[in-house]
Symmetry: C2
Subunit: 322 residues, 2 copies
């Protein structure tokens, strides 16, 4: 039997500001180690609701470099920062690949900066939930801001970014034309667009295209106007403009009440996801469920029945009373 | 009250091979129009389980052109083809953007080719389920093969591609370095890699990198060796090599039993998703659930409780008996 975790001791260290206790706390929560729910419950009241900035975009857009530059700038303003790097684990290396780690380490040495890499595996309850819990722990620890970096432009990345208050979408001249980029659902989530590697061929074109598409968007009075910022993260150009835009967006969220609304929606979504998960767990632990699923799969594969009908039958059989 | 759908008549036309009846059938199923489950049930037995090829990759990789070329080649071999183009709907235009449509139309005119565009909105039950149902309808209609094209490299796109037997991941020299591309989880889903636009700078490098990473993969006896194919879809170069690889993969699936295993897994996953959906629907229709959710959200936002605890409380309150 594994030794019981001494949550009391970890919490004491956490409160005293020891970063290894933050790291340990995140691991316990991420792995759903027995007792994590009570522990999380204990952390909740001390979270201040600090700003969460999500940075997303396709592979190779220079997000890590940008996050590094941005973090450095914030540290110079005496902010303490938690960085969550959501890095899909390679199936072959069993861990995040080397490239980003090295760049991240430059930043990790800065005072008040705590970096956490997360893989797509090993997060019970899903990556999106693990990201939210980690951000909460960083907030409760006392970080002034949480930056969440994700790679990719798909739905699950958008879900992860959904844990953020302000979402920055990073593209590069090589991202294809602006219209194509918009098709990947980026427009719906971006609060700020960045065209990084803006010294490269095609930067002007993609900047122009994104702006043209944004101009088509009908704007309500007082609505946030999505800025499009060009940066060269490696040369440290434009990062100050990005920070200004982020801070302006944070003011907007506060003044307009949109921020409050978003956090409400976020809590609602989170709750529903957990409900869904818990109920499925309950159902999959029902006696005889494996056999029912097996029988159903056989009927579907032999095309004697549809998945819809089989799902219905199983639910009827479960006889959930309300 | 809307007039009841005449499923009998639609089915008759469907069976007689009228493509507009296929289109109508897909719409009815996608919109979950009353009676769609029985209709789907009727289509199931006539599906032959024809090969489904998924083509995915980042925006701007030239997937549509490649699908077009591939389809043309298959038509020359006297195959009939169903193409599903999963095109996230732009929030501003309310429909798929023009670019791909035009290119697709060139293919749509070919004999025996039926193209269906799907947006991320308007598919009740989720895009992934709608894609599976559409593929099933095309199969039941008599198409010899279904090609599913999705944009993006995220989890939900991977779920959509999960409806395929053979998954082709398309990259371009501009996709960033091969290592970066691998990080987006592409390695886990690719049965075949394509580097399109192979005449461009950097093509050799990305080809080399992908091959080097694939070489690191421990291979079991008789396991499928993922080929890496370079194409120039626009110039119609390399498309024949791609088709050969697809056909080889299909033989592998059949001979090794892996195909059977995958279809089994697919049915299992589909069933679980539908179960989850149906149960959530049941729960969200419970009397008083909205109030419970509201109260829970308030506790979470005021940090008096965690989403985990609130989800648990709601489930206890629902008193699901087993």
């Amino acid at each position: 039997m594994p030794r019981a975790v001494d949550y009391e001791e970890i919490y004491r260290r956490f409160r005293s500001g020891a970063e290894f206790a933050l790291a340990r706390s995140i691991s316990l929560i991420e792995n759903h180690t027995a007792g994590y729910e009570d522990y999380l419950h204990r952390l909740y009241p001390t979270a201040r609701g600090v700003p969460r900035v999500g940075i997303t975009g396709p592979p190779g857009a220079g997000k890590s470099t940008l996050v590094g530059r941005l973090t450095k700038l914030l540290v110079e303003q005496n902010e303490t920062i938690g960085v969550i790097a959501v890095d899909p684990t390679s199936p072959f290396t069993g861990g995040a690949l080397l490239g980003d780690r090295i760049r991240m380490d430059d930043v990790g040495g800065l005072p008040g900066v705590f970096i956490r890499s997360m893989g797509t595996r090993g997060s019970l309850g899903g990556l999106s939930q693990a990201t939210r819990d980690t951000a909460l722990a960083m907030d409760a620890f006392g970080k002034d801001r949480v930056i969440i970096e994700t790679v990719g432009v798909g739905q699950s990345e958008l879900d992860i970014v959904g844990a953020a208050d302000t979402t920055v979408v990073v593209l590069v001249p090589e991202s294809g034309d602006g219209v194509q980029a918009m098709k990947a659902g980026l427009m719906e989530i971006a609060d700020i667009f960045v065209v990084n590697k803006a010294d490269r061929d095609g930067a002007e074109r993609i900047l122009r295209e994104i702006r043209a598409i944004l101009d088509l968007k009908p704007m309500a009075e007082g609505e946030w106007r999505i800025p499009v910022i060009s940066t060269e993260a490696r040369a440290n150009k434009g990062v100050d403009k990005l920070l200004t835009a982020i801070e302006e967006h944070e003011s907007y969220l506060k003044d307009s009440g949109v921020g409050k609304h978003r956090r409400r929606e976020r809590a609602h979504g989170e709750l529903k996801n957990l409900l869904e998960r818990d109920i499925m767990e309950l159902i999959l632990s029902t006696a005889g469920i494996e056999e029912s699923l097996e029988t159903a799969v056989k009927s579907i594969l032999s095309r004697n029945s549809t998945p819809y009908r089989e799902a219905e039958k199983i639910i009827q059989h479960l006889n959930l009373h309300r």
